[in-house]
Subunit: 438 residues, 2 copies
């Protein structure tokens, strides 16, 4: 994209309404604009980030055998009356009445609807397990929406739901999802640590929240440094084998990790002092086993091997996709702006033409840009070099390809790595190979 | 995807509530399920079709220089009060009140919001033209939702909006969009013909509806057979040149085309008798120039070359993405089921294992499936051959790869082309190359 033509207006001043750094930077870098309290329009660069995150989430869900569907945003109230949650859910549920005076609601989550869809399609234990997910906009009518997309009202979430024939199978599904989440966050370029969370009346230990480490996080966290050293993409797990999944899960949970609410000083004392890490975290995901809560309350069953009907075991697994955009920025920025991890950046690199109108500079820039226009942002504006440097840092492209008159004459460009500030001079012909993904 | 594991329940019986063929086939082939009147959940195969269509629409919008954004589903009523449409819009607008008693609405269209976003970002004529679009769910509270996704309440639409400095520039944008639409529908594998539509108080001839030819269409259409012979993908137009765009538009509009409402018998008489075609059509797109209607009413202007502020000229350009799924089926099916055009099919081919459990059949099927599991549906169920043939015809995969014990022993499979019924026997090793896209 040519910046001169892009619908991408950066702001020099900090918007007054933005209290936290990710909100400020998302407005300043032209990623989103607020259209109503807690409701945002995604501008082209922001949408690219949202889509990059969605795609990584999708690939890891697909890899574990989950199947993608797309449920509508509006749901009939009747469905929630069946589960008993319609009256229980508070004022965060946006209740709507249509022209025929039928009660609808804007879905804040989809347990009821997926359970109903499941019951229409699956009749026998032979078709289990089933894991279904969608990536869809949700609405929660927060009393005080704030922090930009971090606590918005209309938000994009991946929510998956599993159906298993037995508790043991449900545990295996939960562990597969745990691995998929660890892989997902690692691919997104952030450190997300699973922490045991409340299970409520269900009990057991099958509830984890995933927190991204960021100094501005809402929760204090205590964890074993061993977590940060793991490469979950290289983890050898036979996900068809319950024993292999069990070993993975045991190893994973052997590292201490807890939010301040759940912190256990006695267990913490057993973590070697040089491995103790304290920080703050932002919740971006939650996985949760809840058994037969919905299949029982909604009367959904399938036929077992003995011909008897039984209620399948369920779990739900959420990732806050739009929230992640803010959370990643909270975890990865400096005073000059965003530092996008490679995998989620809206553009791989910005080409900075330091002297637009100079024949040599224009020619080098145009040739570079033409080689991959979809993944490069070409700053072809007639602005001063300082403005271009500042905007590129603000927008946080992983690389800047800096083209000045001296270099262009000599056939070289300068590459700047946003995350480290490192600069190297390379021949024009090598530039794109040097910034290619590892 | 293995059909034995797929969340894809076909129905043998025609659902009683479905009045038209696309609705029946979409339910029977497991593409959608209704969750409330006129509101549908998209199951995995249906979502794949929806995404294939969206991607072609997106590519053609991007190619003309439009930029993708994503506006939220809910809009503040205030925005519509600024344009004067809040009170004018009838009961099809779903009006919502949030917990703070603020009036929201579920967007049926986005002229107001995009004009507001434009005004925040664009200040000078130098930044024109701008064409912005999104592919987002809309809601229209139809009094009698019916015909499945063809007249649903929650529906997916691509809507683009253009901003130009002058009428001439707006005309050029309109013509570029016309070409993009002709290309889009051709790539989707359907015959869509643009028909002059009402412009209301704006006047002029810059309003066209696109109708897909289908015997069940809601409108009668009359058109010159010349339309069907055009290859818009090969059309040579310099879209930067107003004169070249003008020649293209003149040629395109030289073919007679009109709905029954607008039919002009005198003009029709000038079409040679052997080129006259009559049929029925389903509206799937509408492009519309409306000048300064919103920029004036909402007080949006940019600075011109003379330093004076002026109101940009606008147009809007819609494609009914979810409606297209139904419309394509209306245009392309037979008594046995759907006949998907190659470009939108959920799967490229189904592999039919006629004797699941037979070592040779299983081995051939597994090897074929492993070569491209994302684009093949493997019918590995323990069903009779007749059931598998019927389901594959119903689901409408462009190709069937039929693996029986005799062929498997001889190293051959049978390929069936869904659209023609043609069957050929080929060596296993050649099967995937034979069904590859042209």
């Amino acid at each position: 994209m040519r910046l001169s033509r892009a619908f991408l207006a950066t702001l020099k001043e900090n918007p007054a309404e933005a209290q936290i750094v990710s909100h400020r930077l998302m407005l300043r870098a032209g990623l989103v604009r607020q259209t109503a309290a807690g409701i945002y329009a995604w501008l082209p660069a922001g949408l690219r980030v949202l889509r990059n995150i969605s795609q990584i989430v999708r690939e890891e869900q697909d890899a574990l055998g989950a199947q993608e569907v797309l449920m509508p945003t509006l749901q009939p109230a009747d469905l929630w009356k069946r589960s008993g949650r319609y009256d229980a859910y508070g004022p965060e549920m946006l209740r709507i009445r249509d022209r025929h005076e039928r009660d609808l609601l804007y879905g804040p989550t989809n347990e009821e609807m997926i359970t109903d869809l499941f019951s229409q399609a699956v009749k026998s234990y032979r078709e289990l397990p089933q894991v279904l997910y969608h990536i869809q906009w949700k609405f929660r009518d927060e009393v005080r929406p704030r922090f930009g997309v971090m606590r918005g009202r209309e938000f994009l979430m991946k929510d998956a739901y599993s159906f298993d024939a037995s508790y043991d199978d449900a545990v295996a599904t939960y562990r597969r999802m745990m691995l998929a989440y660890l892989r997902t966050f690692q691919r997104l370029g952030v450190k997300a640590i699973p922490m045991v969370a409340d299970t409520g009346p269900i009990g057991g230990d099958l509830s984890h929240e995933f927190l991204i480490l960021a100094p501005t996080g809402e929760s204090g966290v205590f964890f074993d440094a061993g977590f940060e050293e793991q490469d979950w993409l290289a983890e050898q797990v036979d996900t068809d084998d319950h024993a292999s999944l069990g070993r993975f899960f045991e190893r994973m949970t052997s590292f201490y990790a807890a939010t301040d609410e759940k912190h256990d000083e006695a267990a913490w004392d057993h973590v070697p002092a040089d491995r103790r890490r304290e920080g703050r975290g932002i919740e971006v995901g939650h996985i949760f086993y809840f058994g037969r809560k919905y299949t029982e309350s909604m009367g959904v069953s399938v036929t077992g091997p003995d011909g008897e009907a039984f209620h399948p075991e369920m779990g739900s697994y959420g990732i806050g996709v739009s929230r992640l955009v803010g959370a990643i920025i909270e975890a990865s920025h400096d005073d000059n702006g965003i530092i996008w991890p490679d995998e989620v950046a809206p553009y791989r690199a910005a080409i900075l033409n330091l002297k637009a109108g100079d024949a040599a500079c224009d020619s080098v820039c145009e040739a570079l840009y033409a080689s991959d226009p979809d993944n490069l942002l070409y700053d072809d504006r007639g602005e001063r070099a300082g403005v271009k440097f500042a905007d590129a840092d603000l927008m946080g492209h992983p690389w800047q390809i800096i083209v000045g008159p001296r270099g262009a004459a000599a056939g070289t460009v300068e590459l700047k790595r946003r995350s480290t500030g490192e600069r190297i001079e390379v021949p024009v012909a090598d530039a794109l190979a040097r910034i290619a993904k590892a």
